[in-house]
Amino acid sequence: MTQQNQKSPAPDLAGEYVLGTLQGERQADFEHRLKEDTALQAEVSAWEQRFAPMLEAIEPVKPPVDAWRNIEQRLDSSSQRDKAGIWSSLGFWRNLGMVMASLVMVLTLTLFGIDRADFEMDRVLVVMNDQSQAGWIIGTAGSGGQLHVKAVAPTQVPKDKVCQLWMETNDGRLVSVGILPERGAERMNVPVSLRSDSRFKISIEPVAELPATKPSGEFVFEGGLASI
């Protein structure tokens, strides 16, 4: 890039990103770096804090009552799960899934066209669905404390249930990590330190009463991360 003005200081990319003047390709490049670069994340956060008083100073305005109703409706429609038929084959899912997880991992990555370079994971776990196909892919990159969870063909569970992901700690305690997404990809924070031999388990839970310390029923899947 040519220097527009000799006296102009070098751009503070995090500052410009937060301000909003980083656009187009420069913005995309920056966001790409931001995903994994924790130092850069902290810089962005520091800029957000510097400007935060400007947002804090804005007078609150009560939104119209419809707004909340519309939000609720959108959440309802996105959490429609009504294919209870397949639910009955849960046992099948459990038995086959546990055995096959690691065997089909490489195949799955190929079959579903998931580019390793694109996914940027170095350890993955394929969670089988009730059809003993890849339901979700859970991956970790580097030493980051985050799980990248991608829905491939999630198990269809009744409307009021969800698949809850658990992690086993060193001393055998269970901690809840989160809810496996129905579609798309999500990042989840790992509540305890992640090890190469960390075990993950999945249970089906009522969405209204998610357990915090142990599943309400049996685990339907369990597995560990494998290096790729």
Partner: protein
């Protein structure tokens, strides 16, 4: 302070702890927690969005988008990096700026002269910055930088203007607008250093 009065700082800290707990519950898809989170924060966020978008039909759509985003990305909230209200207000601001930029592109193509109808003189609510310690510090630092730099920073922050739009809005060459932004940010950062 009179007996029985609650120190606003303590009240604010307690409120932040409660918001953090509600966000944590949202990561587990707890709808009741989400409803409470909305109850506690929606006026704040709607104020932010309305400030940026001005039109309330846009602002209502945007508020929904912002809360859906908060619900879906509650697990990416890092309590050690930002206060919950800052995190949520940032999401609201980003959603509003995205919408504003989209609309501006549409308007720009249809009626170029209407490009910047909303760049009013109230762009930066500086007077209300006096209400908190952080706000007073930011205000002091903003007052130290040149008024053109302050203006381009405010237009970028509240109206999402690009370098090119800032240059045309202020009638300056692109390079100058860019330099104002860089200098302004550099001076603000230095001034706000602890």
């Amino acid at each position: 302070m009179a007996v029985g009065e609650i120190d606003p700082k303590i009240a604010n800290a307690a409120r932040n702890e409660q918001l953090k707990a509600l966000l944590a519950a949202c990561t587990l898809k707890d709808r009741k927690a989400f409803a409470q989170l909305y109850e506690m924060t929606s006026s704040k966020l709607y104020g932010v969005i309305l400030r940026i978008l001005v039109r309330d039909t846009w602002a209502q759509d945007c508020l929904q988008e912002a809360y859906i985003k908060i619900w879906n990305s509650a697990d990416s909230y890092r309590p050690y990096l930002a206060a919950p209200t800052t995190w949520m207000a940032t999401i609201a601001r980003n959603q509003a700026l995205d919408l504003l930029r989209r609309r501006r592109r549409e308007v720009q193509m249809a009626e170029p002269e209407k490009l910047l109808e909303a760049s009013d003189s109230k762009t930066m609510p500086l007077e209300r910055l006096q209400q908190s310690d952080e706000g007073r510090r930011l205000n002091d630092c903003l007052e130290q930088i040149k008024s053109q730099q302050r203006q381009v920073i405010a237009l970028a922050y509240f109206k999402g203007l690009t370098h090119e739009e800032l240059a045309s809005q202020t009638g300056t060459p692109l390079g100058t607008a860019k330099t104002w932004i860089r200098r302004g940010l550099e001076q603000l950062k230095r001034c706000l250093e602890p």
